[in-house]
Symmetry: D2
């Protein structure tokens, strides 16, 4: 079987630089030096993070230049109709905002590609969305989208980005939209976040092995991407859990100003303050001072003997993905209906 | 929902001309006048019919010029491992024979397209084959085929033949193979026959609405097609069943030379002899002498009031299709392995 | 494989006696002699037929004593949300009416059994309903129903009625509800009708081989049944289609008072008037005067040579069944919620 | 939604006492004091562990009195036909050995129950096995087993052990066999081990919430269980991974006799030697000396804020489970065929 390389994190707001800047609590709306502009606000229960990366930022954070919108409901549960409905509304809204400069008429062709391997549930959000859209579209008189879920290169025997290019050249669409599963390093975000961006898909992005870039530079037409974080890799989960343990205990210590042998932790929300972890040395040793990346590497070495990659995923991932597939499908059809009216 | 036009029959050996010629029992191997050459033989339990249509024949029988090989086991049952294994062996053999002039090396690209709507079981053989092949191919080191199941135009919003053309232009394969569900007029052949041809797919062919030709003329590369008959339309089944009643009773009468009020029929194998159906007039009336096509039309009018198309299919069609998907997948991988060795 | 015997029709209103009485157009609300009371009315788009069979009727029509409610929308299409919503409302209403003498409290146990073979789509309505109810129930705090889909005897190795009896003896429910696929002889009714009855399931009932009675007499608790007609057997479809041809042509003739060689038929709604079919003899022969049953037998003999049973079913049967599974599930949960409030 | 309590480990050979005893490397075949007898050997690639727990042992290790056979291939991969075939052979062999005192004739009834929730893939091995056996059994003339997959209590609304009791009372089988998913604490064992036991299922056993005992004591007939470990809970994985880090680094240190800042670990096979972890204190702090259980609790507190339970499972768990479902089904049919011959 072909090697599958997993990407550590595909969510822009987990990028070190972005986290760092957010943690400044300065939230200056433009950071000229770094080339990243971060805005965060709340709309009903939806937390919206908008990150704009310019040419300078692209070099600094190694994330492609463009706009990234992250929609999250941290308290979302799998049966939370109200929450899903708010997310859907937000997604429809930001689909319109992100594509406001593309004129959409009844004649416009929009190519939607669902990436991923349908037989591995956490990687299947792309194909699930296309299935949902196929069903809805075949009930309509005239098609709104051109919809394909090609499968992954290991199955099809053909590089997915070349596939998208072949169709784009023939169809000449106004816009290409990619739907894909993302990896996250924060298990609390699994299936609770949607990332929308106009940068397309970069090398190494996605859960599986969709290696080549799919972007405006490659296809000569605008390329957007909708992603849902559905897995954490086991070693990353561990390094982050250990980090969380350190952080939350250090926080306790700094509050109570006294160490304790058996410490209780209240919850696992990564604090962004610069806690002095050195107070933990007596209990947890020197490695509290290691760079997080080094601890991550240690866990990866431990797991490297494992012949099969392990993934961490919500117990009812199949149920979550069906909900998100429906949500994304509905948002896309709602958006296109409105967009066509406008022009 | 978009209108779906079903094709009456896609099996060459159900074409009137072919039936007629077969029924001559002359089995002259070349019929210069008509431009069709028909051969029939048996290999173990597999009945093989090879029809070659030349330019003259194309005009006469309205079937595209080329070679059609039909592999049937009339007594096949859904759990008949022995039968399926013989069919698989035959298919592998005729894949090699039909493509003997195409040089296949390890570098050759072969594009396999599974046509049909995966959500309508009797139309799903194409997608099922691609699923089976995806699974097998992703276990291998290097890909043997390029494999896609695009879905039907009503779902995807894009003409399937244009899709195949887009990929063919990009990939430049040595050969395109189309897998599709076929309609038949003989219910006894449902899921018991494989048709292999080097003519591609013609307008109106297939179970669903794959309307445009996919052929060498269109794509500029050789195009083969593998088809499995999985449905009979209700009006066709009826006209043919009524015909079968007439034929089998007429046969009885001609044997026994006496009419009977309640007639028993032995089985439903269409006899091709010219029985004198007029002996049936007292019991079945003048319509025994109508052209079969007129009776068919009568049943279609009767059914036209029905808002949904009815299909006739084996009770366990899903089980049959899984067997055939596996069989076709295995044959294709076996064939390519041998073909690559040869060159 | 074990023999599967299909039942010709399970819908009470297709029973000869019921059809006959309806066709009287007298619609006398009580027929003392025959022991059947038939009422028919329309509620929005839903046609409701209520048949009450008493002890006399049970002997006459060979349908078990009790109440049968049939809900139909003849113009229902698979995407007709409005129609499905009206059917759901009606089903909820008649569930309440049929069970108004059973006192339902929060402590009441109601056992719901979905009969049928999940791997044969047209037989799968029972398991589909149980799946839908499992999902909904596991989201709730406390269970409303006890829900099982055992599979068919050929799979499980145990007689289904004994299975239901074992559970009933242990659980001691106030009510048992059976959900099952039905056979119909009217293809226009496929997936457009729900039958609700308090008589349970009789020998030979259902699409597959659920042979033994499941009823109050056997289980000592009230037994209701919800059935959806999903298949017509091929020979029955044929006999009925031939009958329909005769009827509609005879109707034309009686109107126009002149025979015609090529007749056109307007639609296939079985007229219940006693048309003089003898006028058809010149064209269709003596068999127009055969009892319908004899023609049916002739078609069965023709098909008997066929190793696999053929079924006639709507092209998108899987889609229909998902809709009905949801509808029945919702109706049952709505009904129980209201019923519990009342007591 | 109802709370689901996961069991830490259901594999007898992960029980502390068993591990401890094994680690003695004494492998005395009978330990009178502790009441546990452990044997381990290799058959081809299959590692077989046989643990016999007597009344004394039941008190000591809190595992039910009886025989536990564990079959493992640590190097098994998902496409390893050879390995699966060896496991199948072993399972068939130990099914015969474990049941050698039960006389099986053609009249014997054996009830097989597949526990678990079919919609949560890692919990679905029970239903998958029943599906596979249903299919095979319905192809046979006479049933070998009585086969049911009831679903979980949260879905069905009825306690699963009462369900099994209801059927057992009615059927009066010679033997009940339970198939279930297990939790493990060793991620390397995920989907690489089969546990066979004649003790039935104990409270808290299984992946989901099958809480009540299903055993000979409850049902009055012998009860065996076949289990496959398919998940590790995230906190357990972490505590064990941290333990593994400590163990493997301590091992290195004891070899090299010098600490190092950035340590490399070779693999993750739990060493059972009593390493002196205190040498790790400088790097990893005091918690290296905590009882493993305390570290586990710390990680559970960290994860307790997470609204949804996370599970760790192989990436292609669905594929693994299909292989095991087939393997178990084949073993059971092979065993019964031989068992019936013998008597």
């Amino acid at each position: 079987m072909q090697e599958i390389t997993w990407n550590r994190t595909d969510l822009i707001d987990e990028t070190a630089e972005v986290v760092f800047q957010s943690s400044d609590r300065l939230k200056e709306n433009l950071n000229d030096e770094r080339g990243i502009k971060i805005e965060e606000w709340q709309q009903n229960r939806v937390k919206i993070t908008k990150v704009e990366v310019n040419a300078i930022g692209e070099e600094q954070v190694h994330k492609k230049q463009g706009t990234y919108v992250t929609l999250s409901i941290p308290t979302l549960t799998s049966e939370d109709r109200h929450g899903f409905s708010q997310l859907q509304e937000s997604l429809t809204h930001y689909l319109a905002e992100l594509h406001k400069d593309i004129s959409i008429t009844a004649e416009s062709k929009i190519l939607v590609i669902g990436l991923g391997n349908k037989t591995i549930t956490p990687d299947a959000i792309g194909p699930y969305v296309i299935d949902a859209m196929h069903k809805k579209q075949s009930e309509h008189e005239s098609p709104e989208f051109i919809l394909y879920a090609p499968g992954v290169t290991a199955q099809t025997g053909f590089e997915t980005s070349d596939y998208v290019q072949a169709l784009t050249e023939k169809i000449q669409p106004e816009l290409v939209i990619i739907v894909d599963a993302l990896a996250t390093s924060g298990s609390a975000r699994l299936c609770r976040t949607i990332q929308l961006t106009n940068t397309g898909i970069q090398p190494g992005g996605g859960v599986g092995n969709h290696r080549k870039e799919i972007s405006k530079e490659v296809l000569q037409v605008p390329v957007s991407a909708i992603g849902i974080p559905t897995v954490v890799e086991a070693p990353i989960l561990m390094a982050d859990a250990v980090e969380a343990v350190f952080q939350s205990i250090a926080a306790k210590i700094s509050e109570k100003d006294k160490p304790s042998h058996k410490l209780s932790v209240t919850n696992w929300t990564p604090t962004t303050d610069d806690l002095d972890l050195s107070t933990l040395e007596p209990i947890f040793g020197q490695w509290v001072n290691w760079p997080k990346e080094d601890r991550r590497q240690l866990f990866e070495e431990v797991f490297s003997a494992h012949p099969e990659r392990l993934i961490v995923t919500p117990k009812e991932v199949d149920f979550w993905l069906n909900q998100f597939a429906f949500l994304i499908s509905e948002s896309l059809f709602d958006w296109i209906k409105n967009a066509r009216k406008t022009f």
